[in-house]
């Protein structure tokens, strides 16, 4: 290999390092909400090509109802259409498999299905198929979406393309529920044929169908010829390669072995820019946060919980761990979301002195010792190190007990060990869902298993009972303010989405879900 290439490689690294250092030091601009760069001249989208995608994990199950992990959606979106779709820019509901719906009264939802939709195996997606799926969501033993379907009392076929749901009480979240896993329709024929193995099969009505699944290696999809919408499945097929290590995945895209990689760490931004790939960056709903167990000391005292906010320097946290790419936040919704509350900006500013005062007022003049459950991957360990140092300055001594990511829930929320946990919450499309999952007395995620503040349950109920958009916004703000004032948890920052792709990939837009969708994406001719 030539001297020049060696020098190039070396200077690439040096340049990358300089850029990183200045970003962490706060000197360089942290990076824009960039969209894909590329040709200024608009090219016409063309059909054809197979997009090779790198994913960090394989799906926990290809049965939308049985999966457990937020990453599954990347695999589910291509194969499954949901009854209700979501506008990725505004996060509002729009027609999916149901081309229209109505609420004749506050506890009835009528869905009018799109006619002529066919599953990958030829079974028609009609009212009976939808009824079968929703019943399964509600009652099947392996269904993990039962809790989402709790407000549905009955499902009835009221026409060849019409399904009517009766709700136990008014529930505006039902639309978003049907836009997520619970609303992803599978072919009843395939479910009956596969039985318990359906999780490996995945027969939906989405733009691509799953052709093969080689465990922890590759998943291959092919265009569904009878997909109902035009100009969505422009790609002939998708090939997902499972590469758990992000550096490795990026390298394969640089080398041309793959076309697209998502979920990159901020540490890789300098590399992407130097290697001639397209870079796409955006904010997501996924929030890094500190969960608190307020059913026992010291977090049973609201002043102590507020101290946890004041002791934090969110900006430094974001700079050190992501070179400023993560949006620091005191509420869980990103700017631009319909539920974002501007009045909460600037609250809980970094103030160690105030934190110490609050602790003293709460009866802890010598500070507190907190047992924290954390994740044991490198990124989380780095976050833990930053947090330990920051909190130490306010007399809050964090002691971490780290476990693999999938055990954190079991330990902190199941066995209810520890006072706090640091993890990422992948977020729900509807704020009501988010809050009820986090703060409902009976929710598994609520390690405290109790109402966190007076009026919270009532506020959450109220938000679900209204359908009008503005009324909902006010109701959601009310919940936010209660949670915020009572400091029921400590959001740190919003996880940034960083994707890299070859110059050939066109039409990709990031979304707040942080889970890439390939509808409308096309490959330019090489």
């Amino acid at each position: 290999m030539s001297e020049k290439k060696m020098v190039d490689a070396g200077s690439r690294v040096a340049l990358g390092r300089r850029q990183w250092i200045s970003m962490v030091g706060g000197m360089a601009a942290a990076g824009s909400l960039g969209l894909a760069s590329g040709d200024v001249l608009a090219q016409a989208p063309r059909r054809g090509g197979v997009l090779r995608i790198v994913a960090p994990l394989q799906p926990t199950s290809m049965d939308p109802y049985a999966g457990r992990h937020g990453n599954d959606h990347v695999y589910l979106f291509p194969a499954f259409d949901s009854l209700i779709d979501v506008d990725l820019d505004t996060l509002e509901p729009k027609p999916g498999l149901a081309q229209s719906w109505s609420f004749p009264d506050s506890t009835t939802l009528v869905l009018n299905l799109r006619p002529g939709v066919v599953f990958h195996d030829g079974t028609p997606c009609d009212a009976e198929a939808v009824r079968y799926n929703l019943e399964r969501a509600k009652s099947h033993e392996r269904s993990n979406v039962k809790i989402d379907m709790k407000s549905v009392d009955s499902i009835a076929v009221t026409g060849p393309s019409q399904v009517t749901l009766k709700l136990t009480k008014p529930d505006s979240v039902i639309l978003m529920t049907l836009a997520d896993r619970a609303g992803m329709m599978s072919s009843p024929t395939a479910i009956k044929a596969a039985g318990n193995e359906y999780g490996r099969v995945a027969v939906g009505a989405g733009p691509w169908r799953l052709v093969s699944w080689k465990d922890n290696e590759k998943l291959v999809y092919e265009r569904h010829p009878q997909y109902w919408a035009k100009d969505v499945a422009l790609l002939d097929g998708l090939e997902f390669s499972v590469i758990p290590e992000v550096n490795t995945g990026l390298r394969t895209v640089v080398a041309g072995q793959n076309d697209f990689v998502y979920g990159l760490a901020p540490q890789q931004k300098p590399i992407i820019e130097r290697s001639g790939l397209q870079m796409v960056q955006g904010s997501t709903l996924a929030t890094w946060q500190i969960y608190l167990n307020y059913s026992k000391p010291p977090f049973d005292n609201v002043k102590v919980r507020q101290a946890m906010h004041y002791a934090l320097d969110r900006d430094e946290f974001s700079r050190l761990t992501t070179a400023g790419m993560a949006e620091p936040t005191t509420q869980t919704l990103p700017r631009g979301h319909w539920g974002y509350d501007k009045t909460l900006e600037g609250t809980y500013k970094h103030d160690p002195k105030r934190a110490r005062e609050l602790l003293a007022e709460a009866g802890y003049p010598n500070g507190i010792d907190v047992e924290v459950i954390g994740r044991n991957d490198q990124r989380s360990q780095q976050q833990a190190e930053v947090l330990i140092e920051q909190y130490r300055k306010s007399g809050i001594r964090l002691k971490f007990m780290n476990v693999p990511a999938n055990e954190l829930g079991a330990k902190f929320m199941g066995e209810r060990i520890g006072n706090a946990a640091v993890s990422v919450y992948t977020g729900r499309v509807d704020p009501s869902q988010l809050y009820s999952i986090m703060f409902d007395k009976s929710s598994f995620i609520n390690a405290s298993r109790m109402e966190g503040a007076p009026g919270l349950e009532a506020a959450m109920e109220a938000a679900r009972a209204v359908y009008d958009k503005e009324a909902r916004r006010q109701a959601v703000w009310k919940i936010q303010r209660i949670v915020h004032e009572h400091a029921l948890y400590v959001p740190l920052a919003l996880q940034p989405e960083l994707d890299a792709m070859s110059q050939r990939v066109k039409g990709f837009k990031p979304n707040l879900l942080g889970k890439p969708r390939f509808h409308g994406v096309w490959l330019a001719a090489s």
Binding site: M1, K5, M6, A9, G10, V13, Q58, T60, S61, G67, R68, H69, G70, E141, R142, N144, K146, I147, E197, G199, R200, K214, D215, N216, E217, V242, I243, P244, E245, N247, T248, R251, T252, A255, Q257, N376, P404, N406, E407, G409, A410, K411, G414, E415, I437, S442, S443, F444, I445
Partner: protein, 319 residues
């Protein structure tokens, strides 16, 4: 040897190995059962309820007594049913069948490199003990054993994959798909593993040869006037074949372990990464399947080596 002697030998070895194999399965099974905390909760997912957890416990038979679970598992395993992964639902046997070849390509290459480089080094050192060459080989051997395998792997990636770009930095290709690409992907990981292998082989070759060459038997041959080279090659090497077989067995065991960390550095979808993910995810059918496979490989290989000993050196007939 006559046929009946072979079968007696084989029978005897099998009787020795049998209890060890069964004990190994018991150890594998018992390990995972001792995990504190609740497996059912880990399986239930992000948002769940107490009823759902109890359901899961029932479905997977997690509430039956320990020996019953072990017995059922063993009985199934003997008939070829290693159950399915608790996390992905795929048959454990299939997962192992897919990943084992990737590990074997790397470990196999590492073994070949270790023997091909280590033996000549050991021989060269023993021909002139105390010489500079001997000192050099000793130093290499010491370094090789003290070197952390994954650190060497990182250095190899940084140098040969990132700076020089001679080899791919990660991943693997099936041997049957494209043998050239497969070997290119396996090259760096195999080198990382082979470092300690070369060291061990060189050391053992050298000391075994020195021992043989200074033995009464060989000294007598020299005294009789036989040329040094003839004695060396004919008698020296033949007698160290036993040592070489022992080292080979040791290396297989060691490398199957070391491959875990090396596979992590190179993101190779092999047995190593399978068991790390499964162990941290409490996916006990997979953990058991992988440990069982690795132990089986080691036991079978050592059995073969034992038999080869006796074939090569009839004097060695251990209990």
């Amino acid at each position: 040897m006559q046929g009946s002697r072979w079968s007696r030998l084989l029978g005897r070895r099998l009787v020795q190995v049998g209890p060890v194999a069964i004990l190994a399965t018991f150890v594998v099974f018992a390990l995972v059962q001792l995990i504190p905390g609740d497996l059912a909760i880990a399986l239930a997912g992000e948002h769940t309820t107490e009823e759902r957890i109890a359901e899961i416990r029932r479905i997977h038979g997690l509430d039956r007594p320990f020996l019953v679970q072990y017995g059922t598992w063993l009985w199934d395993a003997v008939r070829g049913d290693l159950s399915v992964s608790l996390l992905t639902g795929e048959s454990v046997l299939t997962s192992i069948a897919q990943r084992l070849p990737n590990t074997l390509v790397v470990v196999g290459s590492a073994l070949v490199i270790s023997m091909l480089v280590g033996i000549p080094l050991g021989i060269a050192a023993s021909i002139r003990p105390g010489s500079r060459l001997d000192g050099f080989v000793t130093v290499i051997a010491s370094l090789g054993i003290a070197l952390p395998g994954f650190w060497l792997a990182m250095i190899l990636v940084a140098t040969f994959a990132m700076t020089f770009q001679w080899f791919p930095a990660s991943g693997s290709v099936a041997l049957t798909e494209d043998w050239r690409a497969s070997l290119r992907h396996a090259a760096l990981p195999a080198m990382a593993l082979a470092a300690s292998g070369i060291a061990e082989v060189a050391r053992q070759t050298r000391s075994a040869l020195l021992e043989v060459l200074s033995s009464q038997y060989v000294r007598t041959l020299y005294a009789k006037g036989l040329p040094q080279r003839l004695v060396f090659w004919k008698h020296g090497l033949k007698n160290i074949s036993v040592t070489l077989l022992t080292v080979f067995g040791l290396l297989v065991n060691r490398m199957l372990g070391a491959t875990v960390v090396v596979e992590a550095v190179f993101a190779i979808p092999g047995m190593g990464s399978l068991i790390v993910n499964a162990a941290t995810g409490k996916d006990f059918p997979v953990v058991q399947g992988v440990m069982l496979t690795m132990v089986a490989i080691v036991i079978v290989l050592n059995l073969l080596i034992d038999i080869l000993y006796t074939a090569l050196d009839p004097r060695v007939d251990r209990r």
